[in-house]
């Protein structure tokens, strides 16, 4: 009957979703308990539900500032990455020019720099520019890995739009910028949504660069979470609650772009 999938697919999917959800369940479970209960004994379900850990995070500026900082630089990064990637992706999709194929692969190579040693030059560069501990520094640094990916994804979407549309628009007397903004961008809004999701995601979860380039004013939430070790041991409860809260923004973003992903994209060039 169904030649597009395989027998037992629902069972397989169900088991995999259980596997995906188990560690997240455990984090939620921990976040609702006290530290004594967490380290005290194993329990399948929380003995009693307490939102104290969440209240603690949402009322303490040293916690929730981390979220604001992270969201700020992630949004700056996403907007910048998508904006500069759009014309580049258009050029790669529509024209051939000297070195285009090499350039396309070269862009991706910038994702391949092992962080450990590159942290120091990054730190020196941004110190020299006086950008240390600002949101813009982290946003710019994260462009190293987000811009190449954004170009790659957008190029796929743009190649899915027939070139005749561009030509018709020119014949109708549209100037290039007007055509690009008024006609072309609406046509690839699914691509922009999907690209924004990937930029958001990779910037949101990165810690090493973000932590190196910030100290107080732009400190990301993931770095705030590393200081939960105190004299009384790990503050597992707060850590778990903060972890649960880190999933929320991304889950919202994917919820908004779910239709674009479900509609499909092929990434034509390759």
């Amino acid at each position: 009957m169904n030649t597009r999938s395989f027998p037992g697919r629902w069972l397989f999917l169900f088991i995999y979703l259980l596997f995906t959800f188990a560690p997240i369940y455990w984090m939620v479970h921990m976040s609702l308990r006290t530290n004594e209960a967490i380290t005290g004994a194993f329990a399948w379900f929380p003995e009693s539900i307490s939102f104290a850990n969440y209240l603690n995070i949402l009322t303490d500026p040293s916690w929730y500032d981390g979220y604001i900082n992270s969201i700020t630089y992630v949004l700056i990064n996403t907007v910048l990455s998508v904006t500069i990637a759009l014309p580049a992706a258009y050029a790669f999709s529509r024209y051939s020019f000297l070195g285009d194929k090499h350039l396309f692969f070269w862009l991706l190579t910038n994702r391949m720099t092992p962080p450990a040693v590159f942290l120091l030059p990054f730190f020196q560069l941004y110190t020299a520019l006086g950008l240390i501990d600002t949101h813009i520094a982290v946003a710019l640094a994260h462009m190293v890995f987000n811009v190449p990916l954004a170009v790659w994804i957008l190029e796929g979407f743009i190649s899915g739009v027939p070139r005749e549309i561009d030509e018709t628009a020119y014949i109708d007397g549209y100037s290039f910028p007007r055509f690009f903004v008024r006609i072309f961008l609406p046509l690839i809004k699914a691509g922009i949504g999907v690209t924004a999701f990937f930029c958001f995601m990779f910037s949101w979860v990165e810690l090493l660069l973000a932590r190196t380039l910030t100290s107080v004013d732009a400190k990301p939430i993931a770095a705030t979470m590393t200081r939960t070790v105190s004299a009384a041991g790990m503050d597992w409860g707060s850590l778990a609650a903060a972890g649960v809260l880190t999933i929320v923004p991304g889950a919202l973003v994917i919820y908004f772009v779910r239709h674009y992903i479900a509609k499909g994209f092929a990434m034509g060039r390759v």
């Binding site: 397989f12 380290t39 024209y95 020019f97 030059p121 995601m201 990301p220």
Partner: protein
Amino acid sequence: MSAKPVNQRAWWFILPVLVSVAFSALIPLMTVVNYSVQDILSPSQSVFVGWEWYKEVLRDPELHSALYRQLVFSAAVLAIQIPLGIALALSMPTTGWRSSLVLVLLAMPLLVPWNVVGTIWQIFARTDIGLLGYVLSQFGFDYNYAQEPADAWLTVLIMDVWHWTPLVALLSYAGLRAIPEAYYQAARIDGASRWAVFRYVQLPKLRGVLMIAVLLRLMDSFMIYTEPFVLTGGGPGTATTFLSQYLTQKAVGQFDLGPAAAFSLVYFLIILLLCFVFYNFIKDVGTSEQRGTSP
């Protein structure tokens, strides 16, 4: 399809990308190249040493074993995550609220900051208070990721599968959705089997998304650092000391900036070489297939 028009002015479109990438990637890269040929005694004092550090790094037996562990790990990551991700994409519902729910649930591991991933699994895999460890020990497994090298290695691998398979699944899912209905109809008329539909319709159409999935998983698994650092700290012994861990020990722990810089460049070149091989391999497999099967 007609050939794309040649237009050298397209370079202007690329310029913002080039400037931003040059700024945030090339300048640090050049700084690292500069370190790699010097003996840095103090921030103001350094001596040019030429190839010295490269020779030292290439002869380092610990580096060889870290590289070997890394290759085995990355091979395992690709061998598990790519087929698993494709299988997931094939089994995901295509319409309605169920597809939205599955998409959001599946994407969750991707949205957890990497150090938090390590922390979750650190607790999750503990035999006394963690779900996974507890269940495994109830079933009679002698599981202890903090003591047993094999257990630690497997835990890091399973954690990575949990963390990153959804990326492959999301990309493959989007790729599958982009296949026009006509292809399936044609296959049905030909009486194609399930396997034939997968092999000759779905897989070739997934080439583009799988290319990016394979490259991303290859380079990111090669640079895995935060998650095993939090989970196992590279141990027990050196069981989960992958290249990044070893590099960081050298750069930060022993503060050998010169050798560490030479090491990072060798490291970078290895990733580059592997990605280049995969890129060309997938590209070629794709084109010969298309020629063979398209009507």
